[in-house]
Symmetry: C2
């Protein structure tokens, strides 16, 4: 093509594209216009009705909250609506969870987070016919402000979290309207699995949940799961800070794959390319070599594994620990297991409401743990498995089914859902794992398990540049690529050990859930990148 032709073609393409864009924008504009028209119609109807409505100032749709004014009005939270507040006149902001009109009355269930309360509008002195009709027509999930009197009730309201009171509504204003057609129903989304099938009621499948995560996260179950998960992070950090650990921030964009070249995502980095860190491993070790002694970090780790299982994500949150020790890596195991025990205790003592809320939908046994934590050697585990009829070699890695079986055997024998498996075969661990001084086939490495699934992998690391070089060569790792890492051990390095915990797995297994996507707000797997 001549230069002009090329330019012509480019222009045409551009025009085609902008036409397409224009069409889309026109469509959107039409939609908006229709909506505006509909709203105008509603407003007109309302105005008409208003004329003979004594309560017309007691309800309506507020203009969008644009910070027009600083209103000096206290809002009471739904969870704080208890008999102590009886006969008080209060304001509440909540969502309309359900709405049911019945003659001259309208019953609403108002919801805020995990908490619900019944609200009543009745035609009478404080509410007109039009006002009750207005309330009855509000769409589910709309956010409203109501002024109401708190009333004690004779009979407990079983369907609400606030069972001893109801609200007698005197004013009702819409803060944010929901579209009428919800992509999923919250009642369906919290129905226990199986119950739906039996009674012919709907449950919501996982993809629908995840596609409409903003709605799915509003369920009592999701609210409880992620509040508890926030607690896991807090307990993890508070325990470690009390032990003298320092929080570090490690880079996620790195120049060489931290755990070998497989399963790593590539990033375009200006004129070159880089990788996403598969773990903070090398960096937390460098911090140990830099005298921080005890470090932790909480952050995303990335694995380009094409595995679509219940427990794999391509991006998850790592709770990472690394610690210099004096003479034996069991000092570090003790620190980590104590941290886990503090987390378990903290969850048990501070998050009982959340645990019970999740159990309603997903029943499970309370999580059991021992003090001190049970520590088994790999050899013992293999012996237990063999005694149970499993055929495997002494230095073979554990398959996922064997891990689960082992979990059941350990639970039967020791009555614990949490234990450490120590002294893994050297061959199945990464190159930086310290070999066992007494048996070169084994190593100073360990995994930790919750309900039979691995939640932490860790080890004493090789802190000697020469041995590290040898081990890397043995694993056919390109020494050039890990030069900075190996060099960090050349100028005096304390013996150290550590481990990495998967946050989503801890939450899942503590609560006895069965899919890690339930404990990741916006999960990423080979097939899911949105929302």
């Amino acid at each position: 093509m001549t230069k002009e032709n090329v330019q012509g073609a480019a222009e045409e393409e551009q025009q085609a594209q902008s036409k397409k864009g224009l069409k889309k924008q026109q469509k959107e504009a039409e939609k908006a216009a229709k909506k505006a028209e509909k709203q105008a119609k509603l407003a007109a109807e309302q105005q008409e009705a208003d004329e003979d409505d004594f309560a017309k100032d007691r309800y309506g749709i507020c203009p969008m909250v644009q910070s027009q004014q600083k209103l000096d009005r206290a809002l009471v939270r739904v969870q704080d609506l208890t008999p102590e507040k009886a006969e008080q006149q209060i304001w509440v902001r909540a969502r309309i969870h359900t709405s049911r009109a019945k003659g001259k009355q309208c019953f609403l269930v108002l919801r805020h987070q995990q908490f619900t309360v019944q609200a009543l509008l009745a035609v009478g002195e404080r509410a007109s016919k039009q006002m009750v009709k207005f309330a009855a027509n509000l769409t589910k999930e709309s956010i409203i402000d109501v002024e109401a009197v708190v009333k004690k009730v004779e009979q407990k309201i079983e369907s609400c979290s606030q069972q001893d009171v109801e609200l007698h509504v005197e004013r009702i204003f819409v803060i944010s309207q929901s579209e009428a057609r919800l992509p999923l129903q919250l009642e369906d989304a919290v129905r226990p699995e199986g119950e739906g099938d039996e009674e012919g009621r709907a449950t919501v499948n996982q993809d629908t949940r995840l596609d409409n995560r903003v709605i799915d996260l509003r369920t009592t179950t999701s609210q409880a799961i992620f509040r508890l998960q926030s607690g896991v992070c807090q307990l993890f950090r508070d325990t470690l800070i009390n032990k003298g650990f320092v929080e570090i921030q490690t880079p996620k964009i790195i120049s060489a794959a931290s755990e070998g070249g497989a399963n790593v995502f590539t990033v375009s980095y200006f004129k070159t390319s880089a990788y996403l860190a598969q773990s903070p491993q090398l960096y937390k070790q460098m911090c140990i070599c830099a005298d921080f002694d005890k470090v932790f970090c909480v952050g995303p780790v990335f694995r380009a594994e094409d595995s679509n299982t219940h427990r794999h994500l391509t991006e998850f949150v790592g709770l990472d620990i690394e610690m210099a020790f004096n003479y034996h890596y069991h000092e570090v195991i003790d620190s980590i297991t104590d941290t886990m025990v503090q987390i378990f205790k903290g969850l048990r003592d501070r998050f009982q409401t959340e645990i019970q809320t999740v159990n309603k939908q997903y029943p499970s046994e309370p999580f059991k743990f021992l003090e001190p934590t049970l520590r088994l050697e790999y050899k013992e585990a293999v012996a237990m498995l063999k005694a149970a009829g499993v055929e495997m070699g002494d230095e073979e890695d554990l398959s996922t089914p064997n891990e689960k079986l082992l979990g059941r055997l350990v639970k039967e024998k020791y009555d614990t859902d949490f234990y450490v498996l120590d002294k893994y075969p050297l061959a199945v661990r990464p190159f930086y794992t310290m070999p066992d001084p007494n048996n070169p086939k084994y190593s100073n490495s360990y995994d930790m398990f919750m309900r039979g699934e691995e939640i932490l992998s860790g080890a004493q690391r090789v802190h000697d540049a020469q041995l590290l070089t040898e081990r890397a060569m043995h694993h056919n790792i390109d020494l050039e690529k890990i030069k900075a890492y190996i060099d960090s051990f050349r100028y005096g390095a304390p013996p150290h050990a550590g481990g990495g915990i998967g946050l989503e797995r801890v939450t899942m297994l503590y609560l006895g859930l069965h899919n890690v996507r339930q404990t990741s707000m916006f999960p990423r797997d080979p097939k899911r990148l949105t929302p």
Copy 2:
């Protein structure tokens, strides 16, 4: 080529590559062999010397700590060596900071983190000539265990952090040896800028520091900076958790650029491609739409900006807040400024040692703040700048020099290093910013400044799907790409506001430092991807 030829070529290439690999490995092996030889020679020499050495069991090089035994030996930390321990016999693990032989004596300065103590070996009853010589020959930065008696000193030891005691060493064993030639000297790395030039002493430039970050992080200054930074994170979270916030984890791999298409890194994601999140913006807002009400997250954010300034990184740590409010976004500003004030107070009260340590190398004025925090409107700021002779339009964005000048003007007038600038012109803010209800040229948005530099950018967000669509169209944003985001506002959304804080900037500006690379452990910029 025929199939065989192709295969042949591939094999040749493979052979060439493995030859190259082999050569490298041979070289490494030779190196290792040389090192082993040298060590054998040293051992032989030592053995020879041992024969007439009464102290031969009192010093030496320990075998690599491989967790051979659980030693029941308490190690005292250098920072705990005070006159209360005088005359006690203790064990200490530390690095050799400096070493100086003088006749029959050897003076060591031992260092652990920010703390140093003097240690003395003298030929006599407890130490032989050979033992003192051994100590004198140890390389700087080696890690040693010493058994010693703590002795009070008559005259303060000015060069050490522990000024009132010294250690009289009775046993000395090397735990990890440093190579003799350090890539940089720690004394040089803590020397105040300028002092080097005057006295002809060396200082260390930034690239050398960053290239050898493991050594540079050992300096008292670095130790202090990153301990304080860990404190910033802790104070940030503790304050917010006390206020009822929930910690969330948002995905970093996303399917559409969160803040528009520019400045975004691309990731290969299996058979498709994805982006690295430029902020958790969309996700924290979705959490608000999902009823979490008050959320925060701490995590990496990625900006593919090719700017090589003192305050830009391509990867930094975001401290992000998002919060539903009742009637006015100033409720959120008040929450954020109170959080910042709690951080400033916590640092001032708990990290005074760290602040003073950093000040020794980088002097700066103590950080000043007011309660309540000063809030200025953008219009007032423009007026102040104009009064100071700056020519600018009323709705023009602030340039970096103008921000700095404004910081100085505010400091002069109000005596504070921290303030909020409210009501930015709408045109200079992202599409999701809520317009000012009283003046369409302005918006409900704000920045926060420390020592005249921006550390937070935030706003009330548009929580209405229709207005959001209009604003996105106005900014020529492809609606298809942000569909999931806009859809999250269709089912009832509370009014909300928030902001994102740059962790490294907060640390830098609080301490009065001048480059954000000083407060990032392993900084990433367009030119730096390692270590």
